[in-house]
Structures are given as C-alpha cells and as structure tokens.
Subunit: 155 residues, 2 copies
C-alpha cells in the first residue's frame, strides 16, 4: 500500500465530481511503482452506466498495455468496488485492490452498491430485476463450437 | 419472452465468435418490441476485459437513447450474465433479463463465471484477489461533499 497512489485515486474522485462528470469515485492502476491509468466516474458525462472509475481505469490500462490482462498490476480506488467493477477486476486479473471508503459509505451517499451485492448472491428467480431462463439449444451449440475450436484464444 | 430476440442474441454470439472478436456470447436490448442494440463479446478484438456482450449492448443502447438509464428495456442474452454484467444490468435499470445458457455452461466452456460468483459473495479479505481496506478521510470527505451538493444528478 503506497499512500501516493491512494491520494491520486482520491484526487481523481474529486476532479471528476468537480467537473460534474459523475459520482465521487476515482481509481488508478499501478504497475512496477508507476501509474498506468488514472480515471474517475463518468456516468453522467458519457451517459454510460458502466463508466465507473474502476472500469474506466481498467479499460485505459489495457489500452496502454495493448492487452486484456492486467497481471502484476494493482488497483487503488477511493471506494470499495461495486459488483460490476469487482467482476471487471477478476476478468482483468488484477493482483491487489486497495480501497478506502466502503460499500456502506457508498450507500449512505445514495448509491446502490450494497443492494446490488445482496441481489447478486440471490438465485436469479429471487431478484428484483426479473430473470427468466429459457431453453435454447442454439445457444449451447455455439458454446460447444467454441470449446471444440483448438485455436481459440482463452481468456 | 419473444423467441425472435433470443434468436438475434444467439446469432450475434455466433457472428462474434466466427469473426474471432471474443467468446461465444451475444445480447440484444429491446424496447417496445424493437431491438435498440445488438452486440457480442469483443474482449479479444478490443483487448478489453470489460467488453462482454451485455456490457456492449448496454453501452450501445444508452448511446442510442442518449441517457444512462434503460428503464422499460429488456435484455436477451445467449448466456446468463456474469457478475460484472449483472452489476451493469442493475446500474442500467433494465426490466427483465432473458437468458439461455447458464453460468455452469460457461464454466464447462472454460470461463470463470461461476468462480467469480463465488468470490463476490465472500468478505473482501477472504477472496483470491487480495483486497486491502485502508483509511482515507479524504475519500469519505469527497463523498460527503457529493451528498451535500443539492444540485447533484442522482443515478
């Protein structure tokens, strides 16, 4: 844990909020002691509900490195990642996540983080968003075709 | 549930896979019986670990509508959304999610969906990715500043 990087994440949060780009959240991604990407929440500016600080930082770091994997990289974020960002962290293969405020702080600030954490662990049919399972042999056939392709790129 | 839309999602999955853009996953977003957006996984093409079919479809539908909220819209996806996509679905405020294959089908196909579902419900300190809570009064101060701004745009 390097305080300079957490300071950079919090400063990004402040900058984004002051610009009116989105909520009070900032993040940086660090590799070998250097900042690879620095981002803040841009949900309002981009009119994009997925434009959270962590997702933006991951996308930018991948652009910088030219690959979709961030092994040996650490994320510093001003607030505990929401489930969407947590999923993105796993897909990106980040090593360590340092966070300051918590999902409860986010809830007090008016965001849905804690609620989404509760929803995600429910079985699909028990959620407030309606989830409907349907059968499609075509869908599983496409997945079988992928699995049987020896040249596929794994990720 | 309208089979034409699930067919469109599965066809998108097939098209993306055939192009080599990413894994065998496709999605469409529908409003008032019309397709607003159609997308497939582009993790490989974009070198972006967040470029899942559902995230891409949500971002594109928001671009089409010019807003970050997709109320009264439904998502059809060829496979049960991963936790990242599920979070995006909640932030976007989608109404219903129709899905065909499951997280277990995805696991059999070689993807980490089920593992990430397990990880997300663990307390941060119990996960395989290292999560480190740190104190930062500056981080909570930024969040307080947001909360006390009467003109803030809620989302």
């Amino acid at each position: 844990m390097d305080e300079r990087f957490m300071d950079a994440a919090v400063t990004a949060a402040e900058e984004g909020m002051t610009r009116g780009d989105g909520g009070p959240f900032g993040a940086v991604i660090v590799r070998d002691g250097k900042i690879l990407s620095r981002a803040w929440n841009r949900v309002i500016r981009d009119q994009d509900p997925t434009a959270h600080a962590e997702v933006n930082a991951i996308r930018e770091a991948c652009r910088v490195l030219g690959r979709f994997h961030l092994e040996a990289c650490d994320l510093y974020t001003s607030c505990e990642p929401c489930p969407m960002c947590l999923g993105a962290i796993y897909w990106a293969g980040l090593r360590t996540v340092f966070y300051a405020a918590t999902r409860d702080d986010a809830t007090e600030t008016g965001f849905s983080d804690a609620r989404i954490y509760r929803e995600i662990s429910l079985p699909p049919e028990g959620r407030t968003v309606r989830f409907v399972k349907t059968d499609s042999s075509a869908a599983t056939a496409v997945m079988r075709a992928w699995r049987s392709d020896a040249n596929r790129q794994r990720y």
